[in-house]
Every structure is written in structure tokens, then in C-alpha cells.
Amino acid sequence: MVALWSTNADELMRSLLPFITPFVLTATLVAQDSIALRVGKVITNDGQVLTDATVLVEQGRITQIGDASMELPFEVLLREFPDGILFSGFYEAHTSSGTDRANENVPIAPFLDVKDSIDPVAFFYEDELRGGTVALGVIPGNNCVIGGRGRVVAPYGRTIEEMTLSASMGMKIAIGPKSRWSRAAQLAELREATGNLTRTLQVKGQALLDEQARTESLQAIDEAPEDAGDDADAFDSQGGYIRFGDDFPGKELISEEDVDSTLHGLVDVLNGDERLWLWAPEPTDVLHAISWAASHGLEKQAVYVVTSSAWKVAEELSATEQPVVLSGGMWHVETDSVSEKETKTFAPTVLADAGVTLSLGTNKNRLGPDRLAYIAATCVREGMSYESALAAVTTNPAAAWGLGDELGKIAIGYEGNFVLLDGEPLDLATKVLGVWIRGNRVYDRADDGRLERLETGASK
């Protein structure tokens, strides 16, 4: 009897597990997702600096911000850091670090997703957390034509689901050539991909029309085909999946089911359902990217990922009114082929002065400048306003992800993500004391064993 019960209970548990787990998890999160912090200073990224302020996070979101005397719900734990500075944390707009490999070896891979590539326990994320980064846009690398989908993650969590802040970061499309490809080959490949898709859809549309005609004629002679039965996913088999390009016969009949799953990514792109991260390393690539987006009616989906040479097309980028991410170094160095004179241009200020909404990315190849704080501080040194430099590593990346209303600020309604600092965020001597993601403390400098060993020199 006991054995029987236990077997049954086991089976029951096993069968229920998939359903129970989310609730259990949610329950634990809810219990932890509320906290109140009373700190010496809050940098809101809204142009305000609050002193002696209290920030209340409930259910992972900031619900109240007030002064030191703000009343708190009795069940919320209050933590006080009278000398600390609460800051939104840094936002890495665009990176392919923390994945097992940046790119697949086929040029057209819209079906890929970094979800399958992110390694939650990579030291990279631990380091980012330690450095005060609270969110990263992880997306396939640039050595591709259509690279795959990215997602916004926090540098904390045991699973990719736990890390994910947003699964809809968008699709990587490289306008700049793959390594060893010419620009013409790159663009021909892209043209081939979209052209072939259109052709496939046209053929499919015609086939569906023919099928429809056949069904109708069968119905007309009252020989209706056998009922196909209940469609398991009625929504997927509805027509109207294709919303881009010129009309062609049968276009409105095509449903998601009718299209090969490997092509869904590309259809999403052309339908305008995906944010597009257009890699354009050279000025001429930027122009190609702008015109490519325009020719497909995707101007408002574009995020331009550029390098320092893009200062030459600052006006063109500004005119698009779309976000721009500057990756790699910030200095553009050019040597005249005749006089061998070297000219150095600091790209961020040129772009910012032209009115570009700029996000700054780090260059993971280098040790020193591999910090968003360092990059933003350099921008300030080179003449960018403090607010613009700070926005380029906080609110602008969040906006580029389309999450400008949820991430990047310490404001009511925003996610409870922030870092506690012991000084100004762009001061290189500032230490990150703690990091909270959705109200959960995920990093505490006092508990950072690795850092402690590094600082004390202890070997074990």
C-alpha cells in the first residue's frame, strides 16, 4: 500500500512537474522581488540626482521613489546604504561575447537564435556583473549575411530563461562584407536570399490558389474532400502571414504553416516584426544599410551598428532618426595614401553633435578600455556632455532594444535593476558594491570570493 502510494505519488509528481515548476519558481521570485533601498544618492538618468532617497521595488518593478522618510509596506525589507550611490547600471547595447561562437558558417541563417548559444556560466557574465553591467544585448556576430536573432539578458542566472530580460532584441544583418567577401558578393547574397524567398512565396501562393480552385470545383460538383479535421493550431494556418513586398496571386492565402520553418526568420524580418541590427563597418556600408532598409520599408526597424569611421556619415545616420551603436574603438585613424599624414577623429562626439542617438559598445579584445565606464569617461574627456555620455551607456541602449520604458532608468514603472556604487559612475576608481536585477540582489562585493582572492593575493 505504501509502495503503491509512493509509486502513484511519484508518477503524479512527475506528471505534474512541468506544470508546477513555473508556479513554484514564480512564488519564490515573488517572495524575493521586493526590496527597499535607502541610499545617499540616486542617479535616476532622468536628469535628476536625488539625495537621501528611498527606492521601493515590488514584484521586480520600481513602484515608489521618495525621500528618507518615505513609508514602506511592512513586509518589504529595507536596506540602508547612507554613503552609497544608486545608479541604473551600465547597458551593453550590442555584443556577441558570452556565446560559444559568434557566427554559424552559413551566410544566411535567420533561423538561428543566441538562445541556443549563450553560456550562462561563462566568466564573461560574472565579469560584466562585477563591472556594474546590468543588461547586455547578445546577438550573433558580424561575420555573416543574416546572422540570427539576439536577446537582451542580465549577466545573472543559471539558465538562459532566467537571464533573459527580453527575447525580442532583433535580427543581425551584416551589410558590411563577411571576411574575405567583396561588398558586391555580400549584397548579392542578401539580395539572393530575399529574392528567393519572394519567389518561393509566389510559387506557394499560386499553389494555394490552384488548391483553392480545385476545392471549389470539387465542392461545386458536391464531392467535397474529406474534412481535414480540427486544425491543431488554427491561428498558424490562417492566411495573411505575408505582409511585405508586392502583391502576387495567392499572397493573402499563405499561412505560417505554409512556409518552411527555416524561412520564418526572414519573413519576420521583411514583415517588419523584427528589430534589425545592421552591421555597417564602413561609411559606404552605412549608406548601403540605409538604402537597403528603405527599399524594404524597414527604416523604422533599423539599428545601425557602426565603427568609428562612421563619423563621415554622421549626417546621414542622424537623418534616419534611428539608434546607432558604435562598436570597436572610438578613434578613427586615417593615413593619407600620398602624404602619409595621419588624421585622428573622435567619432562619438562627431556623431553626437550631428544628433545621432548613440550607444557605445566595448571592445572585448582589449583589457583596459573594456569597460563601459571607461568609454563613457573618455567621451566626456573628448568633449561630449556628461549626460550624453552617460545616456550612451544606459538609456540609449535600452531604447535601441525597444525597452526604453522598462530599462535604463531608476524611475517608477521601470524594472528594479540597479547597481550600488561608492562613487560617481564614470569615475574609474568607483567600486561596484552591489547589483540588483528585478529587485533581487545578484551581486555583493563583500561576497565576491574571486575578487577577494585577487585583492588579497590569497592563492586558495
Binding site: S182, A184, R199, T262, E282, P283, H288, S339
Partner: protein, 939 residues
């Protein structure tokens, strides 16, 4: 009558009208001219020939007209004067590898590849523009059967893409026969879409290529290429470009053009003449001109044959085989060499490629309405010496050598060039200076890119820079033979005194004061305008001035003989050292190699041994330490010491041995010398005050004190002071350690590091003689009387030393000897002497007698910078101008041994020259400019 480039709007319509002279015709729709460019020669329309002295009217980036008559110029029009430049339409490259040569796409059939995608307006186009290229064909994938659609772009300007999708490029040559199979792995591989083998691609033969090309007619809407190919077939403006070199390939190309009903542009086409005349109407050729290889297939008349075949369509020229695609001027010149008419050759890189590329309405000639793209060349377009001076696109300056400031050297052009050897170059000649040297002299020298071209006109003369065989500038203050003379002119380029001398034409001067003596004053020839020390003087050569004049000749003779003997001895000591050093080097090389072998074998043995050996070594080290401890107890001074005493007052160095024994402060010194073995040793008493050994004695002249200080084991610095009259210092070494008390005696051998033989001490007074004996100097001896001259000649000739004479104004009756023996005379500053009631030019007198002469400014009043002027006066009074020139340039250089650096305008010599407005030494001429070490001396 104005010659309108094109004459009428007919030029804009087509090729049927080629040349036409006509009155000014208003061309409707053209903008108003806003600027005119004036040039000496304008090839507005290559086929019509050049216009001399013309104006290009430009408005809004377009050519409005080309005029040859200033009276037709609209009033108040600003004029940009391009000077003596030759203007041609901007060059057009009918093919280029600008979009890459490989990795341009892996499909063999790629009509969907657009070369315009490779157009990068932000790239650095300087290296292309500076070759005069203003329009370029961007080639799609070059190594594929169907490469894709080409594009035509300008290298600068506003509206740069002339044709985004021009012709479809097909390559039929063997270059495409190794197209790799096409492979894209399916991801994810599924049952319906499995990983298959790579798909083979066409073609491995011409017939295979033609097969797949013929298949293209139907169109294949399922592939990107097929759709793009169909689009091209429907594009009426787009031609078919086929790269075809052999006759069969050309034939195949013709067939394709007929099949697809497309105008054909045939690239390569070397064997076009073998294919007959059945090519479609309007076929154009882009002929690849072989620049390096012979092309026997071109036929006996080279290009002309192929060209004649296709005359109606015209032929564009591109550099073939290994030429760079920007070498258009070279290709045109080479085509001329193969028999093509010069005008047609220029047309082949301007107008004809415009037609081939379908952009003739925009570029190619300077016709009304076309883009104002032109190139100013330093000489005629096919001239081997021509270089691009400036490039203008849409009427804007986009490249200028002046602005680029490329270090391309200087080309000087004058009617007459005196090189210093042989007859002058008449009727226009050029000198190229670069990197401080003369690079070329001749009727036509290379004009490197960026070279500054100075054309002084046909009246001008160029001579080598003048040499002042003896001047006194810069000799103020203490200057003796030990001074590095040359360094005093370092920076003379910025010194106004030196600069005025250089501007006067004296580019080289041998500086010296006038106080010479019998030991000689050694000096070097200096450059009068130099920026850095290394360029400030003629390296490796010296001039030594001697004074034989005055006094009785017996005394003078013996003084000279003594000085010479001392100099010879000094020279011999150096020779001896050189010999010993060489021997030592050879032997020490052997020794070193033997030692190395020993060391290596020891090392090998040690490495072969294991830990045990290492232990042994440690023990050894301990032993060594113990020994050192014992050594520390060795008495510091007891023993035998050795020293060598040298002093100016002692004729020969003396070796001294001193045996020292001490007991406390009292020390007994036993002195002896191996040089004087018969002398008995002398014993003196001294005081030992560690670390000093002090000896003092009162003598007649005062206190003599000798102090020896032991500064390191077995080494003592000794200083001797004899009553303040004589003081000398020497070092003493202990060669044998003596006993002392119960201290352990450890005999140690003095280890002397073997550096080999050391050079003798440098004696500045004898350096002049040494230089003479070593044949790297020339002597100039001042004599005033015949007997002095004779004795000087005898002495120097006896020792075979090169020399010349100076100091006298007439022949001294020795003219014949001087002429026969080749002894030159440095003519004194006073060029005119009055003899027998008439003025006489001293130099002329010598030259008439066949004696070599050089001139000196010496210490004459007015300074060295008046020397050229004085020479002009001398010429006025009877000195031959050519002789004067020789004496100031090549003659002086030869006499003074400077011919390896200065004196002539020969390639490799220093870039020193003078640009005269007229004949040199003509009082009506002036000096227009002076170059020293290749640099113009600033005003």
C-alpha cells in the same frame, strides 16, 4: 574665329560628327560660365588635335566651351591660369580591379552581382586621382563566367555614380576554367533538405561555357541570377561586355551578342583581326595593351591591325598583362609605339572608353555640356617625361602636386646646360635633382610625380655651382687644423652670411685663414648652404695649405724637410698600426674560434653530466671563495711594480721597475729601468700611508713630490710634481707580489685584457701630411718666387704628393713646367694685374700657357660673394668665358680632388647648380636661383 570644342551641339548627339570648326553656337540648356581655365595646350577633343593657348569655360561643373581666342571670352570672367601645362580630358579606365580581383562571389553565374555595391565613396581615391584617372569602370567578379553587372563611377566630384548598372560582364578566357564547385550546407539538414555534394559549376572549357550561356536565354526565375539575367536582357541601355582574347573566344562573344541582341564591348580582343568582319554593328573594343610582354599575335603592325578592323567603333585602351590598371598614359604611349596614331591613342584613354562604358554623354571629351573633368600634365600626354600636375573634376581641383607636397625632386629646364664635361647641351635641356643629388641631365629627363618643374626659358643657362678654391668666410676666431672645418657651415642654409654667398653662386668653398706655415693647414671643402652637418662638407677629402714663401730658401727647405719627415714618420706609425691591427684581428679571430670550440665542448660535457656535476660545481665555488679570503690578506704594495712614463719632454717612453717592500709606514723603493740596464738601481725611502705611497725630496729647483695611490689591487696611479715646473701622471702595475709578514703568499699573474694593437695618438699638426700621404688630400703651396716654386715642386714631386701652387700673379718663368707636370695654380684674388703698362688677366695668362687654374676669393675685399662678379669682369677683360667656367667648376674640382662630389652636373654628384638668366659671366645676366645639395637656396 573661336574653335568651339565640338563646334556644335552635334557633339552631344553622337559620334557621326567628329571634327567640325564652326562659329560659337549657343547650346541650349547650358549653364552660364563662371570661370575659365587657361592653359598652354588643350586637347579638348583628342581627335581634333590640340589647341595652343586656350581657355576652358566652366559653369556649374560643366564645360561650356573651349576657346582659342581671348577676345571671345565673356567679360569679367575669372581666369585660372594653368601656365605651360598640357590639358587633356580626364582619363577613363575602361577596366579596373578596383572592386577586387578575387573573392567577389562564388557563383559561376552571377548576373545578380552588382559591382556598384563595391563602390566606396569614402575610400582613399588619391592614388587613382593622382594618375589623372577621373572615371573608372568597376568590374564585377573577374574570375567568373558571368561576373555580374559593372558600374561606372567618377573618382571624385558630386554625382559620382555615372552608371550604377552598366554592362553584363562575361569572361570567356581560361581564367574562369577553375571555378570551384558551389556549396552551402543546409542548416538544419533535414530529410527534405539533406547535406548534398557540392554542385559543380561551369565551365571547364569554352564549349562548356558557351553551353551554359546559351541556356540563359529562357530565363530561370527560381534563381537570383536567373531573375537578374532576365532583367538585364530587358535593359536596352546595357551592353554585353565579353573578355575574349583568342580568335575563338572573340567569335563566341560575337555569337552571344547576336543571340541576346545586345551591343558588344569586346575586351582583350588581341586576335580580333583573325575573326573576319562579321561582328555586329556598333561593336566596341577595349584593347589590352601589353606593356611588358611581346605580343606576336598582334600581327606585324601591332595594334594598328586590330585597330583598323574596328576603326568605326573606336578602341579604348587599357594596360594589359602585368600593368597596373591606372597606367593609362603608359598604355596610350605604348600603343603609339605599336603603330597607333598619337591622337587616336589619347582618344583611346579618354573619348573611346566613354563610349565603351556608355557614359559618352557625361565624360570623355571637353565638349559643351559634359562634365568639366580634365587633367593638367607637365608635358604632352604621350611624352615619356610627363607627369600629372593637377586634376579637376566637375571644375573643382581634386588633386594638385603642389598641395600634396610630394618629395619628387626638382626638374630645371633652360636653353643651355653646361655640365662641366664637354660641350654644353644646347637648344633646351633639363636637370633632375633629387635627394640632394643630380639624377639626370639631358634634353629630356624624367619628371617624377610631384617633381617641381622650374622652366627658366630658352635664354637661360644652367651651370654647375661655383667652387671657391680658397675663401676666408667663417674663419674668425680660433680655428686650427684640429677643428672640424665642415661643421662650421652646418646650418648655413639659415645663416644670412653664408646664404648670400650661396645665392651669389658659390656653392662650394675651401675655407682657410691665411696663416699657413710649413706644417700646413688642413681644411675641407664646405657647402655654402647646408641644413645638416652631414651635408655641410665634401666628405673624405682634404686640402692642405702650405706657405713656402719668404725667408731664405735654405732655411725654408730644411724646415719643410723636417716637417715632412715628421709627417712621414707619423704616417708610418699609422701604417704600422693598421698592419698590426689587421694581423691581430686575423689571429684573434682564430683564437676566438678555438676558445669558442673549447667552451662549447666544456658546456656539452657539463650538460651531459647530471646533478652530480652541478654539486661539484657548487663545491668549486666554495673553494674559490676561500681563496679570495686568503688573497685579501695579501699586502697591498709589497712586490715588484712596473710603469711606463711618457712626457712631452722625454723623447722616448721610459719603462721603470720599482721593487717595494714596507714594514709599517716606512717603505723602501728600489728603482731600476730595463731601458738602461747598465745604470745601477737607486734606493729611496718613502712613506706608506694607505692607500698612498708618498715620496718627497728637496732639490735645487724645489720640492719634488711623487704620490702613488693604490686604487685597486695591484694598480697604482702615480703623479709626479717637480717644483710646479713639470707634472706628469702615470700608472703602475704590480707584476710580482712580495712577501709580507706571515701573510699567505698567493702569486697572481697580472691579467691584461688583450684589445690588440691600439692606434697611435692623434697629432693634429701631422694630420695634414698624413692625409697627403694617404692620398686623400691635395696640397696647395704658397710660393712667391721662382726659386721657392722650384724647390716646392721638387720636394712634393719627390714624395709623389699631389699639389698645386698659389700666391703668385705671373708665370715666374715656370709656365712650361707647370703645364707639363699638370700642376695647377690657384689664382689670387686680384684677378687683374698691371704689367708692362697694361691690365692683364692673370688667369688668362696661365690658361694661354696651358696651366690649370682655380679661383679663390681669399681674403680679398668685398667677400667671397663677389667672386662670380669679378670673374665676369675678368671675362670682360679677356678671359674666355668657358675657361672661366671650367676654372670655377670642373677644373677646380679636379685640381682639389673634389670631382667625386662637385664641379659637374653628372648623375650621382651633388645637386649644386646655378640658374642664370643668360650666359654666365655676361654682365647682363643675373642669377635666377642657386641649388645646393638639391635644395634651392632661399632668398
Amino acid at each position: 574665329m573661336a574653335l568651339l570644342a565640338g563646334g556644335s551641339a552635334a557633339w552631344l548627339i553622337g559620334e557621326s560628327v567628329r571634327t567640325e570648326e564652326g562659329a560659337w553656337t549657343e547650346v541650349a540648356g547650358l549653364p552660364v560660365p563662371t570661370v575659365a581655365y587657361k592653359a598652354a595646350t588643350i586637347h579638348a577633343h583628342p581627335q581634333a588635335g590640340p589647341i595652343d593657348e586656350g581657355w576652358i569655360l566652366v559653369g556649374d561643373g560643366k564645360v561650356i566651351a573651349v576657346l582659342d581666342d581671348a577676345s571671345d571670352l565673356p567679360p569679367m570672367l575669372p581666369i585660372v591660369d594653368l601656365g605651360d601645362k598640357v590639358v587633356v580630358p580626364g582619363l577613363i579606365a575602361a577596366d579596373s580591379s578596383l572592386a577586387g580581383t578575387s573573392n567577389q562571389g562564388d557563383h559561376a553565374l552571377g548576373a545578380h552581382r552588382f559591382a556598384v555595391d563595391d563602390f566606396d565613396a569614402y575610400a582613399d581615391w588619391n592614388s587613382i586621382v593622382r594618375r589623372g584617372v577621373t572615371t573608372v569602370y568597376l568590374s564585377p567578379a573577374r574570375g567568373r563566367l558571368i561576373g555580374g553587372r559593372g558600374a561606372v563611377v567618377k573618382t571624385a566630384g558630386k554625382d559620382r555614380v555615372l552608371r550604377a548598372q552598366s554592362d553584363l560582364r562575361i569572361n570567356l578566357t581560361p581564367e574562369i576554367r577553375n571555378t570551384p564547385p558551389f556549396f552551402r550546407p543546409p542548416i538544419p539538414p533535414t530529410a527534405e533538405n539533406p547535406i548534398g555534394p557540392a554542385r559543380p559549376q561551369p565551365a571547364n572549357s569554352l564549349s562548356g561555357a558557351m553551353l551554359s550561356l546559351r541556356e540563359q536565354v529562357g530565363g530561370d526565375l527560381d534563381s537570383a541570377h536567373g531573375r537578374a539575367f532576365s532583367a538585364w536582357l530587358g535593359d536596352e541601355d546595357s551592353a554585353l561586355r565579353v573578355v575574349a582574347r583568342s580568335a575563338t573566344e572573340v567569335q563566341a562573344a560575337t555569337e552571344l551578342a547576336a543571340l541576346w541582341e545586345k551591343p558588344l564591348v569586346l575586351q582583350g580582343a588581341q586576335e580580333a583581326d583573325k575573326t573576319g568582319t562579321n561582328r555586329p554593328q556598333g561593336t566596341r573594343s577595349v584593347l589590352e595593351i601589353p606593356l611588358f610582354l611581346n605580343a606576336p599575335d598582334l600581327g606585324p603592325n601591332g595594334v594598328a591591325d586590330a585597330y583598323a578592323l574596328d576603326f568605326a567603333g573606336g578602341t579604348a585602351l587599357v594596360p594589359g598583362d602585368r600593368g597596373r590598371w591606372t597606367w593609362l598614359l603608359e598604355a596610350a604611349a605604348a600603343a603609339t609605339g605599336m603603330g597607333l596614331d598619337e591622337r587616336e591613342a589619347l582618344r583611346g584613354i579618354t573619348e573611346m572608353p566613354a563610349w565603351s562604358l556608355g557614359v559618352q554623354h557625361r565624360v570623355g571629351t571637353l565638349s559643351p555640356g559634359k562634365d568639366a573633368d580634365f587633367v593638367a600634365l607637365s608635358a604632352g600626354p604621350l611624352d615619356p617625361a610627363t607627369s600629372v600636375d593637377s586634376v579637376w573634376i566637375d571644375g573643382d581641383l581634386v588633386f594638385s602636386q603642389k598641395e600634396e607636397q610630394v618629395e619628387g625632386g626638382t626638374v630645371l629646364r633652360a636653353g643651355t646646360v653646361w655640365t662641366g664635361s664637354g660641350a654644353p647641351l644646347l637648344g633646351g635641356a633639363e636637370v633632375l635633382l633629387r635627394d640632394g643629388k643630380v639624377v639626370a641631365v639631358g634634353a629630356r629627363v624624367p619628371h617624377p610625380e610631384g617633381a617641381r618643374i622650374v622652366d627658366a626659358g630658352s635664354d637661360a643657362h644652367i651651370t654647375p655651382g661655383f667652387i671657391d678654391a680658397h675663401g676666408s668666410l667663417g674663419m674668425n676666431g680660433r680655428v686650427d687644423s684640429s677643428t672640424t672645418i665642415g661643421l662650421m657651415t652646418a646650418g648655413s642654409l639659415w645663416n644670412p652670411t653664408w646664404r648670400s654667398l650661396a645665392r651669389a653662386g658659390i656653392t662650394t668653398m675651401v675655407p682657410s685663414h691665411s696663416n699657413w706655415g710649413v706644417d700646413g693647414f688642413r681644411t675641407q671643402a664646405v657647402k655654402t648652404a647646408a641644413g645638416v652637418p652631414s651635408e655641410a662638407f665634401v666628405q673624405g677629402r682634404h686640402v692642405v695649405f702650405f706657405d713656402w714663401s719668404g725667408g731664405d730658401h735654405v732655411t725654408r727647405q730644411s724646415q719643410f724637410q723636417r716637417s715632412l719627415n715628421a709627417g712621414k714618420k707619423y704616417f708610418d706609425s699609422w701604417e704600422e698600426y693598421r698592419k698590426k691591427r689587421a694581423e691581430w684581428k686575423a689571429s684573434s679571430g682564430e683564437r676566438a674560434s678555438t676558445e669558442r670550440v673549447t667552451r662549447e665542448s666544456e658546456l656539452r660535457q657539463r650538460l651531459a653530466g647530471t646533478v652530480l656535476a652541478e654539486k661539484e660545481e657548487e663545491e668549486e665555488e666554495v673553494v674559490e671563495e676561500e681563496e679570495e679570503e686568503v688573497e685579501k690578506e695579501v699586502d697591498p704594495i709589497n712586490g715588484l711594480w712596473e710603469a711606463t712614463i711618457e712626457h712631452a719632454m722625454i723623447p722616448e717612453p721610459i719603462n721603470v721597475n720599482v721593487r717595494i717592500s714596507h714594514d709599517g709606514p716606512r717603505a723602501i723603493l728600489l728603482l731600476s729601468s730595463p731601458d738602461f740596464p747598465e745604470e745601477p738601481g737607486e734606493e729611496v725611502e718613502a712613506t706608506w700611508e694607505p692607500p698612498r705611497l708618498i715620496f718627497q725630496e728637496e732639490s735645487e729647483i724645489g720640492t719634488i713630490s711623487i704620490v702613488g695611490e693604490v686604487d685597486s689591487p695591484d694598480h697604482m696611479n702615480v703623479s709626479v710634481d717637480a717644483a710646479g715646473m713639470i707634472s706628469l701622471e702615470f700608472e703602475a702595475y704590480r707584476i710580482e707580489v712580495g712577501e709580507s709578514g706571515d701573510a699567505a703568499v698567493v702569486s697572481r699573474k697580472r691579467v691584461k685584457k688583450d684589445d690588440g694593437p691600439q692606434p697611435p695618438a692623434v697629432d693634429p699638426r701631422r694630420e695634414g701630411w698624413r692625409a697627403l700621404f694617404e692620398q686623400r688630400a691635395v696640397a696647395v703651396v704658397k710660393v712667391q718666387r721662382q726659386d721657392e716654386a722650384e724647390r716646392a715642386i721638387a720636394l712634393f714631386q719627390k714624395h709623389e704628393l699631389p699639389f698645386h701652387l698659389t700666391g703668385f700673379g705671373s708665370g715666374l718663368g715656370l709656365e712650361q713646367t707647370l703645364a707639363d707636370e699638370g700642376i695647377g695654380v690657384v689664382v689670387p684674388a686680384s684677378l687683374l694685374s698691371r704689367e708692362k703698362g697694361r691690365d692683364q688677366v692673370t688667369a688668362a695668362y696661365f690658361q694661354e700657357a696651358g696651366v690649370r687654374t682655380a679661383f679663390q676669393s681669399g681674403t680679398a675685399g668685398g667677400g667671397a660673394r663677389l667672386l662670380p662678379r669679378r670673374m665676369a669682369m675678368a671675362v670682360r677683360h679677356g678671359l674666355g668665358a668657358e675657361q672661366a667656367l671650367e676654372s670655377l667648376t670642373s677644373g677646380a674640382a679636379d685640381m682639389l680632388g673634389l670631382q667625386g662630389s662637385v664641379g659637374r652636373l653628372n648623375p650621382g654628384l651633388d645637386g649644386d647648380l646655378i640658374l642664370h638668366s643668360g650666359p654666365p659671366f655676361d654682365l647682363r645676366s643675373e642669377i635666377l636661383g642657386v641649388w645646393v645639395n638639391g635644395e634651392e637656396v632661399p632668398e
